[in-house]
């Protein structure tokens, strides 16, 4: 590939579409009271996966764009779009930092090491989400819904985000471990590796 930049833009754009699809198509309809952001979905898992595959920056942007499009297309969530963008980007950034800068996951050949770093990256990224999603969500609701409602939904939100984080961790690691050999054999891995550098 001669032009890295074009390649990265295409890859990230398609990945954003993929995130949106995985996010909307694969939702477990377990609605908790409170309505928003509490259904169990794979959106965050996709951000982590993006970071594991494409690296923190591009994977993060891809995931973030995908989720943000989801928000922009739905008037209920339009106001949440900036929050989504920043939070999801950070999930990717942190997961990518752990996996690639610290773990050097792309250079690992031992399955156990790969598993370990994928897991740590997922935990890192999602732990961030467990703290900051409810927190920022709280300020949003404080303004939008008033203090009493914000306080009550905060606890629900914490519960839902935590459950989501645990499931997302499992999902992203399981899928990454299955995906990596497939990427390698199909000759795509050496290319995505370039983006993660």
């Amino acid at each position: 590939m001669k032009n890295e930049k074009v390649w990265k833009i295409a890859m990230t754009g398609v990945f954003a579409a993929l995130s949106y699809v995985v996010f909307t198509f694969l939702q477990f309809k377990i609605w908790l009271p409170g309505g928003d952001a509490t259904s169990i979905h794979f959106g965050n898992a996709v951000c982590v996966l993006g970071a594991l595959i494409l690296g923190g920056v591009y994977g993060g942007i891809g995931g973030a764009i995908g989720m943000t499009i989801g928000d922009l297309l739905d008037p209920v969530y339009v106001v949440y779009a900036p929050k989504t963008f920043i939070l999801k980007f950070c999930i990717g950034l942190i997961a990518g930092l752990i996996a690639h800068k610290i773990g050097k996951i792309n250079e690992q050949t031992d399955q156990k090491q790969i598993f370990k770093w994928a897991l740590l990256a997922a935990i890192g990224g999602l732990l961030f989400n467990v703290i900051f999603d409810p927190l920022i969500g709280y300020f949003y609701k404080l303004v939008l819904l008033g203090k009493p409602a914000a306080e009550v939904t905060l606890s629900w939100n914490v519960a839902a985000t935590s459950i989501n984080a645990i499931l997302s961790t499992i999902a992203s690691v399981v899928i990454y471990m299955a995906l990596r050999p497939a990427l390698q054999k199909s000759g795509l891995f050496s290319q995505v590796k370039a983006a993660a550098k």
């Binding site: 299955a178 050999p181 497939a182 054999k185 199909s186 000759g187």
Partner: protein, 294 residues
């Protein structure tokens, strides 16, 4: 054993602005042991039709019967049906996911609840049937060539030991030899294992060469349902609905017009050759030279 569609209608996104009647009042029967071809213009409903055959989509109205039983009645084992009626999608290689070929082919049998030895046996049989070399069983499906991937994917469905094998354009994108190899394997399976085959194809030549019955779809309706010779006799009508006859049909008609006494129903190269040779022979016998006839 048979598959039967009774008055099947299917509508995509009913009740919205994008409502699309993909199938309307389809009545068809697929008896056991036939080699059937389905042709039709793009969007005529071929793929929608074949997805009804193994219960992947539920008709908006009408019934689908397998061995006389309604597959959509309460409690019908749909997953079991899917192992009797194997469906190979267009570009089936896009569904491969396992780390090696043999495990991927085992996916179907495994879902049927077979033991791992049994799965392996089935998988090996199936791979053998599609002519996939043994040495490559441990390779990743992702490092195979297009034609090889296609075979593995077909084997993945075959391994479930279906009685019906439905293939949606199995040869798209393959080179001519690869095309012939896959289709020849199908004929072999049909003959040796008695599997019923339903082949969706855009190639009139392939259809003419392989199938014993053609179903022609047009805008969600069945336009023709007959033997290839009879269907292709309507080649003018076929052209009107965006299809064509095999090249041989055109040659035969052209020759006939020029006064050569050939059998216009010849659709394959072999048939055409034989009838032309016969016609030339009789011209010679009658003492006339070809040029005088024309």
């Amino acid at each position: 054993m048979s598959l039967k569609l009774e008055d099947v209608t299917y509508t995509y996104s009913p009740g919205t602005a994008y409502e699309m009647h993909a199938l309307e009042h389809i009545n068809l029967e697929f008896p056991n042991g036939q080699f059937v071809g389905i042709i039709g213009h793009t969007g005529s409903g071929k793929s929608t039709l074949v997805q009804h055959l193994n219960g992947l989509i539920r008709p908006t109205a009408g019934r689908v019967l397998y061995n006389g039983e309604d597959i959509w009645k309460e409690g019908y084992p749909l997953r079991e049906l899917r192992s009797h009626v194997g469906l190979v999608f267009q570009y089936p290689e896009h569904q491969l996911f396992e780390t090696d070929v043999i495990t991927d082919v085992c996916f179907g049998p495994k879902n049927q609840g077979l033991s791992s030895e049994e799965c392996r046996k089935r998988a090996e049989e199936a791979l053998d049937h599609v002519g996939f070399p043994k040495e490559m069983y441990e390779k990743s499906p992702f490092e195979l060539s297009g034609g090889q991937k296609r075979r593995v994917a077909i084997a993945g469905v075959l391994a479930m030991n279906p009685d019906f094998l439905v293939l949606d354009e199995p040869t798209a994108g393959l080179d001519p030899k690869g095309r012939d190899e896959i289709l020849d394997q199908l004929v072999l399976l049909h003959k040796t294992r008695g599997i019923s085959v339903v082949l969706v194809s855009h190639s009139m030549e392939d259809i003419a060469k392989y199938v014993e019955r053609i179903i022609v779809m047009n805008h969600g309706h069945v336009a023709f349902d007959d033997t290839p010779k009879k269907v292709f006799a309507h080649y003018k009508e076929l052209e009107k609905i965006g299809l064509a006859a095999p090249q041989m049909t055109y040659i035969m008609h052209a020759l006939k017009e020029h006064g050569m006494d050939v059998d216009v129903t010849a659709t394959t190269v072999e048939e055409a050759r034989d009838t032309i040779l016969a016609a030339l022979e009789s011209q010679k016998k009658n003492g006339k030279k070809g040029a005088e006839v024309c």
